[in-house]
Symmetry: C2
Subunit: 225 residues, 2 copies
């Protein structure tokens, strides 16, 4: 049973908080859409399944092998994941067109299933500098939904909702705690199942650690392992 | 060996003429990107391979199972392909977000491979009324490339080229003939390998037949079978 929304669910912190918001917004659980794109940290697909199950949501796993073109530390094993902390510019973990592709498929699924909105947990405050996480990008994609889909040209475009876009990471953590989101199930680390614990030094780990610290909250994903 | 461009190659008439243009534009064959998305007329994937081979182009076949969400006569076997000729509105063969998804992946591949431009053979004159074939859609997607990719924010967005968008079908046929494009290899019919000949009555067949007739050219894909 699927509600009126879809949530792009990676199994990380932000998309899980987004799933909490989407669950509250609909009269039934949202449809969770997860991509198995050949990412180095494929563990997140399983974590997304656990989060979807927590909310009683159907999970659609979309397989798309982005390693066929690579171009990112997350899809090409020959490119190392930086571990020295954020630097200037777009980092090597940027996956070319990742959120463009994710939102494209989300628009297709939403239109085919008759859903009203797509939730995406992008955030442009405490983030890695990926261009496809910014409000300008979301606005450009909203225009695509308006003019590029039957739903759009008929006057009811699929709505793209990015409720976390202007929040700092510690605000996202607090929101997740307030909403009782299953943060213990989430996985943010870019490294492939390096053991029971995240690496702690990739950009994604660093942003997460700083966010929990600033929120004054212990990370339950660490506490349970 | 790949040139500086990528062409979205379905194996139909329009994308094959586009491949001819892309081949002429680059100093080496373009990269041909073909989608195996669960389409009813999967034969087109093989025809695309033949066209790519004709131009000495590498073909990247991207698998993405759109039957998992359906919503189209081309991706849901329960929805019949209309055979009564074009009617008003968007037809049942519209695939939700198809060109949005195709262009998204194309932007990712082009950025990962360092290509300058993406050729797409959409046409908004003699077409089926799909919203994602129109100039407004292309312009919206160009904005996505500008603000949603590293290449774009760094000032050299991947270029989206749609050289056929304003041509009538008979002009596309003539252009293909002039450029000696391998039109005999192309397949436009929406039906799944119904035999050696296309069905002749789906919208795609009707547009093709009318285009060849108006151009005063015999369809070589029929002549050779």
């Amino acid at each position: 049973m699927t509600g009126r929304h879809l949530v792009l669910l990676s199994g990380g912190l932000d998309s899980t908080v987004c799933a909490a918001l989407a669950s509250r917004a609909g009269e039934a659980p949202p449809l969770a859409v997860t991509f198995d794109y050949g990412q180095r940290h494929r563990l997140e697909v399983e974590r997304a399944a656990a989060v979807a199950a927590h909310y009683g949501a159907e999970q659609l796993v979309v397989a798309l092998d982005a390693t066929a073109w690579g171009g990112s530390a997350l899809t090409d094993p020959a490119i190392p994941v930086p571990d020295g902390g954020p630097g200037p510019g777009v980092p090597a973990t940027y996956v070319p067109a990742r959120n463009i592709i994710f939102l494209s498929v989300a628009l297709g699924v939403a239109e085919a299933r008759g859903l009203d909105g797509v939730y995406i947990g992008v955030n442009a405050i405490d983030y890695s500098g990926y261009p496809d996480c910014r409000p300008e990008f979301l606005d450009a994609f909203r225009r695509v939904a308006e003019v590029g889909q039957q739903r759009g040209v008929e006057g009811s475009p699929v709505e793209i909702r990015a409720p976390l876009v202007d929040l700092a990471k510690h605000e996202i953590v607090r929101l997740g705690v307030e909403m009782d989101a299953p943060l213990s199930l989430t996985w943010s680390c870019y490294q492939p199942t390096p053991g029971p614990l995240p690496c702690g030094v990739c950009d994604s780990c660093r942003l997460r650690v700083a966010g929990f610290e600033a929120a004054g909250v212990a990370d339950p994903a660490l506490a349970t392992r």
